[in-house]
C-alpha cells in the first residue's frame, strides 16, 4: 500500500532458488490471536511446511531472525522492545506484512492512547490501594519501557502489505500467503477482507 517497493513487485523467492522461502513471524503488542488463526489453516499447514521454511517464530522458538523472505508481524508497538524487534524484522525480511488489527492501527492496546502512561504506571504500581508500603514502579533494566502511545507498525517502519482482520481468518491467511508466495502480489478476495 505504501510507496512502490521493488520487493513487492516480484515473486517472493529466496536468492538461491533451490531452497524454500523463509518466513519469520512475531507477536508484538498483540494477543497471539493472529498466530492462532495461522494454526487454524489446519491440514494446510503441512502444505505450507512443504513450501516454506519457518525462521524466527513462536512455532520454532528461534530468538532472532536470519535473512528472510517474508516477515509476518502481529500486534502494534507498545514498548521499546517491540520497536527493536520490528526493526530487526524490517532489516532482515524482504517483505514485511502487518497482520491483524493491532499491527495495522494499534488495535485494542491503542485504546489506552488518550491516557497518560506515566500516570497509569504510578496508579498501578504506586498509588493503588492494597499495595505494600514503599511500592514503586518497577525499574529493572530488563523490562522494556512502555511508549506514551501504542503505534501501528507502519508508523515506524515501511510495511509492504497489510492483512487485516481481528484476527484475519484462516482462509484469509491462506489466500494471502499462497498468492504472495506465488507471484509477490497477495490477493485476499472480497470474502476474506474484514477489519473485524
Amino acid at each position: 500500500m505504501r510507496a512502490p517497493d521493488p520487493a513487492a513487485q516480484k515473486p517472493v523467492a529466496p536468492d538461491n532458488a533451490a531452497s524454500k522461502p523463509r518466513i519469520a513471524t512475531v507477536s508484538l503488542a498483540g494477543c497471539f490471536g493472529c498466530h492462532m488463526s495461522l494454526l487454524d489453516i489446519d491440514e494446510r499447514l503441512f502444505t505450507l511446511f512443504d513450501i516454506v521454511e519457518f525462521d524466527r517464530s513462536p512455532l520454532t522458538d528461534i530468538k532472532h531472525c536470519a535473512a528472510c523472505d517474508v516477515g509476518l508481524i502481529e500486534g502494534g508497538l507498545c514498548n521499546a522492545e517491540n520497536v527493536h524487534v520490528l526493526r530487526e524484522f524490517r532489516a532482515r525480511c524482504k517483505v514485511v506484512v502487518a497482520v491483524g488489527a493491532c499491527a495495522i492501527n494499534g488495535g485494542l492496546p491503542a485504546q489506552r492512547n488518550a491516557l497518560d502512561i506515566g500516570q497509569i504506571l504510578l496508579d498501578v504500581y504506586q498509588h493503588r490501594p492494597g499495595l505494600a508500603t514503599g511500592s514503586s514502579v518497577p525499574n529493572d533494566p530488563e523490562l522494556p519501557l512502555p511508549l506514551a502511545r501504542v503505534h501501528a507498525i507502519h508508523d515506524v517502519v515501511h510495511i509492504d502489505h497489510f492483512l487485516p482482520g481481528c484476527p484475519p481468518s484462516a482462509d484469509a491467511i491462506w489466500a494471502f500467503l499462497t498468492t504472495l508466495l506465488a507471484d509477490g502480489a497477495p490477493k485476499l478476495g472480497r470474502e476474506n477482507l474484514h477489519y473485524d
Binding site: 505504501r2 510507496a3 512502490p4 521499546a80 520497536v83 526493526r87 532489516a91 497518560d116 502512561i117 506515566g118 504506571l121 504510578l122 514502579v137 518497577p138 525499574n139 533494566p141 522494556p144 519501557l145 512502555p146 511508549l147 506514551a148 502511545r149 508508523d155 515506524v156 517502519v157 515501511h158
Partner: protein, 616 residues
C-alpha cells in the same frame, strides 16, 4: 501616560455581559445574518467569548447556541478561551519571517513570560501567530487586539512594547508612530495616479445609461482582479438577468478580504482610492439595478474602518450615495462595511457570502452561482476592490481606452504588492504584459545584496517561478496573479518557503471536505518531518500523491491550490528537497525516544535500554 488600562468589568457577573450583548444585538436589529458582526463587537468589549456570552447572543438573535458556537469557533479572531487584554497576533507570512518576526516574537514572549498560543491566566498579554496581515512591505507586522496594527517591529520596539504592557498603558496611548502604515506607492499608473473619484464616473454612467455602461465594460474586456479573471461584464449581465426573490433585490459586494499572503494592494487602494472603489460599486449598482451594497473588509484591516466610514459619510453628503444619487429619481444605493474575523477561505466569493450572512465561511455548492443566488439568496455581484476601481475609470474614460492598455487577453493595468528580498518593496501598478524581470529590476531585486532566485507570483495559491522564467509576462495568458509578488534571493531556502505555505493552508482550511481537512494536515506533517531531517524517499512518493489528490477532489479552490507551492518548488528547486529526502529507509514522523520520556520519569531509568533512536 502611565495610566491603568481601561478594563471592562467582564468578570464581575453576567449583568454587564448581558448589557453588552443586548446593546450590540440591538444595534443590528437582532439580525441572525449579522452574527459575525455581533460577535466581533461583543468581543471588542468582553475580550473573549465565553460559553455564557455565546448563549446570550444565541438567545438574543434566535439561533441555537451550538450554531453560534459553530460560527464563533470557525473564525481565527474569535477567542473561546480567555486571552490577555493585550492580545498580539504576529503576522506569520514567510516574508515576515524573513524579516526576523519569529525571533522578535520569542523575545516578546520572554519579556512578558508568556508562551505563544497558550494564554496564561491573569497574564496581561497573550501572543499567537496569524496568517499574513497585509503589511509585508513594512513588516514584521503585528495585529493588536484584532484592531490596531504595529509595523516595522525591531528588537528595540519589542522591549518598549513589553514595558508598556508591564505598565498597563492603554493601547490608545501607545506612540502613533508605531502604528504608522505607509502606502509605499512606487509605481502608480492609471488607477493609482488618478485623482479621487468625486462622481465623474457616476455622471458619465447616468449620461450614457445603464445598458450602454455595461457595453463599455464589455468593450473594456475587464476581467476580475481577485485571481480567477472572470469577465466582469459577463458576471454583471448574468446577475442582471437573474430573477430576484420577493424578499429583496440585487446586491453589489466588494471583496476586500485580501487574504492571499503577500498581497496588500487593496490596503493601499482603500487608503488612497476609497472613493473610486465605492464609486465603482455604485456604477455596478446602477447597471444591475441594485440598491444595497456590502464591503467585506478583512478583519486585519479593521484599523481602516472609521476612515472608510467617513468617506461613505462624505459621499452621502455629496449625493454620491444614498437616496436620489446626484438628484436622480429612483437612483438609490447605499452600502455597509462588514468586517471579517480572520478566515482566508472567506476570500472565495461564496464563502464570503456565507460569512456576510453570519455563518461559517464554508464555500457553497455551485451552481447556483452568486449572480443567481447570492447574499440572502438574492442575485449578487461580487468583485474585487481593484476591479471596482477599474470600473470607475472605465465608466469615466470609456471601454476602448482601458482595452487599449495591456495585452490581447488581459486589458488594463494590474497592481502588484511587492515584498521580500528587494530594495524597494511596495506597490507597483503596470499595464498587463510586463515581464517578471522588469518588476524585479524596478523594485531593486537584483541590485547590491539581492539576487532573486525565485518569485512567488499571486501568493501561495499562485505560481513560484525560478530565474529561467523571469522573462515570462504578467497576464491571464501567461502568469496570472491576484497581486502578490514575493521575491526570494539566493540565500533563501525554498523548501522552507513551501513549508511555511503548507502551514498556511492547513491553518486556513475550513475543514469541510476530507481531502483538504486531512490532506493539508498530512502535507504539513511530512514537511515538518523533512525540516527536522527525518525525510526519506517514501515521503516524496506520499507528498506527490497528496499533491495529485488535492488537485481536483476538494470542495473549493483553497484545497485545490494548497499544494501549488509544494508542486512548484519540487519541480524547480529540487536540490532544496534532495538533501532532505535522501534516506532510502522509511523514517517515523515522530520522536520515539520522546515517547519513552513519561516512563523514564516514573521509573527513574536512564540506561541505554530506556532510550530509542529516531532512526536506525
Amino acid at each position: 501616560m502611565m495610566t491603568t488600562i481601561r478594563m471592562q468589568p467582564t468578570d464581575s457577573g453576567s449583568d454587564s455581559e448581558r448589557q453588552i450583548v443586548e446593546l450590540v444585538v440591538k444595534r443590528y436589529d437582532s439580525r441572525k445574518d449579522a452574527l459575525v458582526q455581533i460577535l466581533r463587537e461583543v468581543q471588542a468589549e468582553t475580550h473573549w467569548l465565553s460559553r455564557k456570552v455565546l448563549h446570550l447572543v444565541a438567545a438574543a438573535v434566535g439561533l441555537t447556541p451550538a450554531r453560534v458556537e459553530g460560527v464563533a469557533s470557525f473564525y481565527h479572531f474569535f477567542h473561546l478561551q480567555p486571552v490577555g487584554r493585550y492580545h498580539f497576533l504576529w503576522s506569520d507570512n514567510v516574508i515576515d519571517r524573513m524579516l526576523g518576526s519569529r525571533m522578535l516574537a520569542r523575545e516578546l514572549c520572554r519579556l512578558l513570560h508568556i508562551v505563544p498560543g497558550k494564554p496564561r491566566q491573569a497574564a496581561p498579554a497573550s501572543l499567537d501567530f496569524t496568517s499574513c496581515t497585509g503589511l509585508g512591505d513594512q513588516g514584521p507586522a503585528v495585529l493588536l487586539n484584532q484592531h490596531q496594527v504595529l509595523t516595522r517591529l525591531d528588537e528595540l520596539r519589542v522591549v518598549e512594547i513589553a514595558e508598556l504592557v508591564h505598565a498597563r498603558v492603554p493601547i490608545e496611548e501607545w506612540p502613533g508612530e508605531w502604528q504608522r502604515v505607509d502606502d509605499q506607492l512606487r509605481r502608480p499608473d492609471v488607477l493609482l495616479a488618478s485623482p479621487a473619484a468625486q462622481g465623474e464616473a457616476l455622471r458619465a454612467t447616468l449620461a450614457r445609461g445603464a445598458e450602454a455602461t455595461l457595453d463599455e465594460i464589455v468593450i473594456s474586456r475587464l476581467r476580475g482582479r481577485g485571481g480567477a479573471g472572470f469577465s466582469t461584464a459577463t458576471k454583471w449581465r448574468a446577475c442582471l438577468h437573474s430573477p430576484c426573490p420577493a424578499h429583496g433585490g440585487r446586491v453589489v459586494v466588494c471583496n476586500a478580504d485580501e487574504g492571499e499572503p503577500g498581497t496588500f494592494k487593496d490596503r493601499v487602494l482603500l487608503t488612497r482610492q476609497a472613493d473610486a472603489v465605492f464609486e465603482g460599486m455604485t456604477v455596478a449598482a446602477r447597471v444591475i439595478g441594485a440598491t444595497e451594497g456590502l464591503v467585506y473588509l478583512r478583519g486585519e484591516y479593521r484599523y481602516m474602518l472609521e476612515t472608510l466610514q467617513s468617506v461613505l459619510e462624505q459621499r452621502r453628503r455629496d449625493q454620491l450615495l444614498g437616496r436620489q444619487i446626484l438628484g436622480v429619481d429612483g437612483f438609490n444605493f447605499d452600502l455597509d462595511i462588514h468586517v471579517g474575523a480572520g478566515a482566508y477561505v472567506c476570500g472565495e466569493e461564496s464563502a464570503l457570502i456565507e460569512s456576510l450572512e453570519g455563518k461559517r465561511g464554508t464555500p457553497r455548492i455551485r451552481p447556483p452561482f452568486p449572480v443567481e443566488r447570492g447574499y440572502l439568496d438574492r442575485p449578487t455581484v461580487v468583485n474585487n476592490v481593484e476591479t471596482f476601481c477599474a470600473v470607475t475609470r472605465i465608466a469615466q474614460r470609456g471601454g476602448a481606452w482601458w482595452s487599449a492598455i495591456g495585452t490581447a487577453q488581459s486589458s488594463g493595468t494590474k497592481i502588484h504588492s511587492v515584498s521580500g528580498d528587494c530594495a524597494r518593496p511596495g506597490i507597483y501598478e503596470y499595464p498587463f504584459g510586463v515581464s517578471i524581470a522588469q518588476i524585479l529590476e524596478d523594485c531593486g531585486a537584483n541590485s547590491g545584496a539581492h539576487h532573486a532566485q525565485a518569485v512567488q507570483v499571486g501568493g501561495p495559491s499562485g505560481l513560484c517561478l525560478a530565474t529561467d522564467e523571469f522573462e515570462r509576462c504578467i497576464g491571464f495568458e501567461d502568469v496570472p496573479t491576484a497581486g502578490a509578488f514575493m521575491v526570494f534571493d539566493e540565500t533563501r531556502d525554498m523548501f522552507e518557503t513551501a513549508r511555511g505555505f503548507a502551514h498556511f493552508f492547513a491553518h486556513e482550511s475550513c475543514g469541510f471536505c476530507t481531502p483538504c481537512r486531512v490532506g493539508t494536515e498530512l502535507v504539513v506533517r511530512r514537511m515538518d518531518k523533512l525540516a527536522k531531517g527525518h525525510g526519506s524517499i517514501f515521503d516524496e512518493t506520499e507528498l506527490r500523491e497528496l499533491e495529485s489528490l488535492l488537485h481536483g477532489t476538494t470542495h473549493c479552490g483553497l484545497g485545490a491550490t494548497a499544494t501549488n507551492p509544494l508542486r512548484d518548488t519540487l519541480a524547480r528547486f529540487r536540490p532544496a528537497y534532495e538533501q532532505r529526502l535522501k534516506s532510502p529507509t522509511f523514517t517515523p514522523g515522530f520522536d520515539l525516544d520522546a515517547e519513552l520520556a513519561a516512563a523514564r520519569r516514573v521509573t527513574g531509568r536512564d540506561d541505554a535500554d530506556a532510550h530509542l533512536v529516531w532512526q536506525e
